[in-house]
């Protein structure tokens, strides 16, 4: 039954959006973290989405996360000599997370997740009706 593969498609998209929400949560949680050096500073993470094509049927295209990239935006340092993490010059290094960007990202991910849920529910309804056909 060809409607079944919609569960795979929408499911893959939901799992991908879930990973996106997870990275957003991690970024927002770490937006105020500081560290002792520029290398250790937290950098914003972002998943990379790619289409995964079914070999048997090219029309079926789910989503997969091919990797997580880190943001290369410059790290800000702050003079805080009283901080135990501060280096010899008394600087701590802040994360390069942009909270506004992350919030926008979060809303986009949650909307995409919702539309996939909608697709799943509609397909489920159609399948149930098909099962009841002729009754």
């Amino acid at each position: 039954m060809s409607l079944f593969s919609i569960f795979d498609i929408a499911g893959s998209a939901m799992s991908a959006q879930n990973i996106r929400l997870n990275t957003t949560a991690s970024n927002l949680a770490n937006s105020e973290t500081v560290s002792g050096s520029e290398q250790q500073a937290y950098r914003a993470r972002q998943p990379v989405f790619a289409t995964v094509l079914n070999q048997a049927n090219q029309a079926v295209a789910g989503v997969q996360v091919t990797g997580i990239t880190t943001n290369n935006a410059p790290i800000q340092r702050e003079y805080a000599p009283q901080n135990p993490l501060a280096d010899e010059q008394g600087y701590v290094y802040k994360s390069n997370v942009n909270p506004v960007e992350e919030m926008a990202n979060m809303i986009s991910a949650s909307r995409s997740y919702q539309s996939n849920i909608e697709v799943l529910n509609t397909s489920k309804e159609l399948m149930l009706q098909t099962l009841r056909m002729g009754q």
């Binding site: 039954m1 049927n57 539309s115 909608e118 056909m133």
Partner: protein, 130 residues
């Protein structure tokens, strides 16, 4: 009266609607995938092709012959949608358009289903003769 013939256009339409909903679901699933191009099919042409081609399943005259599958029709032509507002990352999925098309397709699927149910009920009445 041939039962196959009585159900003919709606059975094919139902299979094609299912296939189209799969295409649209794939579009919605890839709404955030860079470089994904939204696809759709020409339903009228596809239905015409299926009906003209007669049976979806091929005739098998030898037990070694394999069936090409039940109306999943990988050979149905799909087209890329021309995007009204393509995004910077090369994605051409317009979520609103896809959602509207998906809902419409679902309703049309239900319509075909209703027609089939009606035919089946009619046939049952005729068979029972009550």
């Amino acid at each position: 009266m041939n039962i196959d013939k009585a159900l003919a256009p709606h059975a094919s339409a139902l299979a094609l609607r299912a296939q189209r909903s799969r295409l649209l679901a794939a579009n919605l699933a890839n709404a955030d995938t860079p470089n994904y191009k939204a696809r759709d099919m020409d339903f009228k042409a596809a239905l015409g092709q299926t009906l003209k081609g007669g049976d979806i399943s091929l005739q098998t005259t030898h037990r070694g012959h394999m069936s090409p599958g039940s109306g999943d029709g990988a050979e149905i032509q799909t087209y890329y949608r021309s995007a009204q507002q393509p995004s910077m990352d090369g994605n051409t999925v317009d979520t609103q358009v896809e959602q509207a098309q998906f809902t419409r397709n679902a309703i049309e699927y239900q319509a075909s289903l209703r027609f089939m149910s009606g035919t089946i009920k009619g046939l049952l009445t005729a068979i029972r003769g009550e």
